[in-house]
């Protein structure tokens, strides 16, 4: 190994790299507009939902908000990245990857991917009954889903089943309802 040659190479290469890029460093950074993936965006939505939901008094008022994710690994990864970065809209968040036969009662939010047909319905029901915000992405909206994502014109939209949420002692703020695609009042 001829290390001297490599140092020689460094000496040639680094100036060239600097030369190539120098005029650009002075530019001011800005947030580039880019199109994230569907689960990037849905993760951001789920994270935002935390600020607009009031949980029933039966949920402990302190400690982390627990988000359970069933069948959407990328969404769970994204939320985990947020959690790891210490991002917290209200309280710290804790991400759990769950199976459809999990016990949802300790959760604050449950997300179920659209691959389950009606097999996740019992889980969604148990979660909704336990005061968990149930979020899905299945059309038509499962009966016990409180927020259901839809893709419209390549953008993420959602329907809110306010009646179902209120039936479990929860409330959803008017700001969130204002941007929903539809709001369903019936329980």
């Amino acid at each position: 190994m001829k290390h001297a040659r490599f140092w020689h190479c460094w000496m040639r290469v680094v100036p060239m790299a600097l030369l190539l890029t120098a005029p650009l460093w002075a530019d001011t950074p800005a947030h580039a507009q880019s199109g994230p993936s569907e689960y990037d965006l849905k993760a951001a939505f789920v994270y935002q939902f935390l600020a607009y939901v009031t949980w029933p008094a039966s949920k402990p008022p302190n400690g982390p908000l627990v988000i359970g994710v069933v069948g959407a690994g990328e969404l769970a990864d994204n939320l985990a990245a947020l959690a790891a970065a210490g991002a917290a809209p209200v309280r710290p968040i804790d991400i759990r990857r769950l199976s459809v036969d999990a016990d949802p009662r300790d959760l604050h939010v449950l997300f179920v991917a659209d691959v389950f047909d009606d097999e996740a319905d019992p889980l969604l029901r148990a979660a909704a009954d336990a005061g968990v915000l149930t979020v899905t992405e299945t059309l038509p909206r499962p009966p016990d889903a409180m927020i259901n994502f839809e893709i419209v014109d390549n953008k993420v939209r959602f329907e809110v089943a306010l009646g179902r949420a209120r039936a479990s002692g929860m409330d959803i703020s008017a700001r969130l309802l204002g941007v929903a695609l539809r709001v369903v009042d019936t329980p």
């Binding site: 190539l20 650009l24 950074p29 389950f116 953008k155």
Partner: protein, 638 residues
């Protein structure tokens, strides 16, 4: 856009594939309020396809989910999933992999990269697949682009580019243990990670062991093999600039390879290490800058062929910007350049010798590509050119021009490229036998092999559940490698030319939410001949030029038996290899995965189930037969 090469893909081939996908989840999204989120377009209609519907190229993407559900334990086995590649397993550890033909175990027309670091060896400008390992659990996706990529990637991307993209360390902060044990191979991977604030890291180790295969005579082969890999990756992302540092160390060795004609053939021993850094900074809106540097060292102690020890040092930079001219056209420009410095020292093999024994080689390149969108963006025209300088042939140029027309859910594209394969050490400096008088005395006048390529394709996603891609291609080959006519010594020259053409097509159909079927095929025809009236002693019907199957097809189905039980089947057929008389074969792989809890997966994998043993490569005299194999796997996220 964190990584140099990945960002080039993003900018130039597939504007729909975005920054967030390049380096995982973008923290910027978390800073937007709900109204702002409503206005963001997602990059792909279907996350299942990681849609590359904007790319004017034949691109197939293998996702992390595909990798996990394939049950494959090595990179080459994973690549079997790409319907635009030809993958042939030579023995327990050697593979021959290419796109669009010219396959052999020292194939030289395919460029392979991991996070932008080339995996190639300057010895023959190809990839020793047995030297390549990766922590498969942390691969985000593998982009397989068949066809030339010279304008962006340079003088090796003649028949295709494989880009292995690993996850950002922010996405791998948990501890994961996976292990497989079977009748033919065993392996284990451990990964752990963590982070604080904008910094994240992971470290991993992997060990694999393959049993020997069998010879056609029924005797056992001498190709048992084991390989170990350790590595790390650290990422820092403050929202404006991203920095990553990665390193890997690999060691592998085969068993002793027996005695041939009274000569004991020792084991093959392989070592490599690499260190690479990427830095990316967003400048003004729609503009960013990437710089990448890496160093790799590899050593291959192989008694028979030759024993190269080589180092590569590479720095590249590129700048991407969107220019709004105020008229109905927009320009998406990427330009940049790079330098590469390589040093090698080759111990002679049993038959051949490299003269000079040691050599230093340098490459430099500059490129620019402009994607011009007209009107509403339905029509895109992309001219580009790369200039590359190498020590053997001086300046080479690699231009391309593509046109893409987007019509609702379908896209029609066409591309013309001129691409070259620059001479490698093998083309110029190989001598046979290992001492004078030589029968082959290098290729002092060997020039670059040239291809002028015309491709056209149609791809689309007519419904949410169906996507497809079809590509037709034609290569006009010139200056392919041959030798001079007798008398001895022979010299390597560029005296073969001709045509190659074929079709690549695949489709994915999501029949129900639980059941997906994917099918693909490719065909290849070649018509090669000598450019002058002086054919060499070998002719064109030899294993380096004409040892490709005329066709291949594969069908895969993914079925979720229950939400936590998944079954995957892959059936593939490969036509015969005429030159080496390898019969056509059909094989079936099966995997059943069960998640008893969300953190644990147990799997059963069967490979090559239709036959007890089958051959994929090599003439009968040195052929190895591959076993039917079964393995159980365990994957545990702590």
């Amino acid at each position: 856009m964190q990584r140099l090469i990945a960002s080039l893909v993003t900018v130039c081939l597939c504007p729909s594939l975005t920054a967030a996908e390049q380096h995982g989840f973008s923290m910027e999204l978390a800073n937007l309020d709900i109204e702002q989120l409503m206005n963001i377009q997602i990059s792909s209609v279907s996350r299942r396809d990681e849609s590359l519907s904007g790319a004017a190229a034949s691109v197939f993407v293998i996702t992390s989910d595909d990798i996990r559900r394939s049950g494959a334990s090595s990179l080459p086995e994973i690549l079997r999933m790409a319907p635009n590649l030809q993958v042939a397993r030579v023995n327990a550890y050697e593979y021959a992999i290419t796109a669009r033909g010219f396959n052999n175990r020292v194939g030289n027309k395919l460029l392979v990269m991991q996070d932008g670091r080339t995996l190639y060896t300057p010895m023959f400008s190809g990839v020793f697949w047995e030297m390549q390992d990766a922590n498969l659990e942390d691969i985000e996706r593998i982009e397989v682009i068949s066809g030339p990529g010279g304008t962006l990637w340079g003088a090796n991307a003649v028949n295709g580019v494989i880009n292995i993209i690993t996850r950002n360390a922010a996405q791998t902060q948990s501890t994961l243990v996976s292990a497989t044990a079977g009748n033919y191979e065993r392996g284990a991977t451990v990964r752990t990670g963590g982070g604080a604030g904008a910094l994240a890291w992971r470290a991993y180790g992997k060990a694999s062991k393959w049993d020997r295969t069998w010879l056609p005579s029924g005797a056992p082969g001498v190709d048992a093999f084991q390989r170990q890999l350790i590595g790390f990756r650290a990422d820092h992302d403050n929202g404006v600039q991203q920095f990553s540092l990665q390193g890997e160390v690999m060691h592998a060795e085969s068993q002793d390879r027996g005695v041939v004609s009274g000569v004991a053939i020792p084991a093959v021993e392989l070592k490599s290490r690499s260190l690479q850094a990427h830095w990316n900074r967003e400048l003004r809106s729609g503009s960013d800058l990437s710089v990448q540097a890496y160093y790799t060292y590899s050593m291959r102690d192989e008694f028979v062929l030759f024993s190269p020890e080589s180092s590569i040092f590479d720095v590249e930079a590129n700048h991407h910007m969107t220019l709004d001219t105020g008229s109905a056209t927009t320009h998406d420009v990427v330009w940049g350049g790079g330098v590469r410095h390589a040093y090698d020292d080759v111990e002679p093999g049993f038959f051949s010798i490299y003269i000079p024994k040691e050599r230093t080689l340098d490459w430099q390149n500059l490129f620019v590509q402009d994607e011009i969108s007209f009107g509403d963006g339905r029509l895109r025209v992309t001219p580009g050119i790369k200039f590359e300088w190498n020590d053997y042939t001086g300046r080479e140029h690699l231009p391309s021009l593509s046109v893409a027309w987007q019509a609702d859910a379908h896209m029609l594209w066409a591309r013309w490229s001129r691409v070259i394969r620059a001479p490698s050490r093998f083309d110029r400096d190989v001598y046979y036998p290992d001492k004078p008088p030589f029968l082959i005395a290098g290729g002092p006048n060997f020039e670059a092999e040239v291809a002028r390529v015309l491709e056209t394709g149609l791809r689309g996603q007519p419904t949410d559940s169906l996507s497809y891609s079809m590509t037709l291609y034609h290569y006009d080959w010139d200056k392919l490698r041959s030798a001079t006519a007798l008398p001895f010594p022979l010299y390597l020259v560029n005296n073969i030319e001709g045509d190659a053409y074929g079709v690549e097509a695949w489709a994915t159909w999501q029949l129900t939410p639980k059941w997906q079927v994917r099918g693909g095929f490719n065909t290849l025809e070649k018509d090669l001949g000598f450019g002058s009236d002086a054919p060499d002693t070998v002719g064109v019907n030899n294993a380096t030029l004409h040892n490709d199957p005329d066709y291949q097809w594969q069908v895969r189905t993914r079925y979720d038996l229950r939400p936590n039980i998944q079954m995957d089947l892959q059936l593939r057929r490969v036509a015969e290899l005429r030159i080496e008389s390898v019969p056509s074969y059909t094989e079936l792989d099966l995997r059943i995965g069960w998640q008893p809890t969300a953190n644990l997966e147990v799997s059963l994998t069967g490979a090559n189930l239709l036959h007890r043993r089958h051959a994929e490569y090599s003439p009968i005299a040195n052929r190895n037969l591959l076993n039917r194999s079964v393995a159980v796997g365990l994957r545990w996220m702590l």
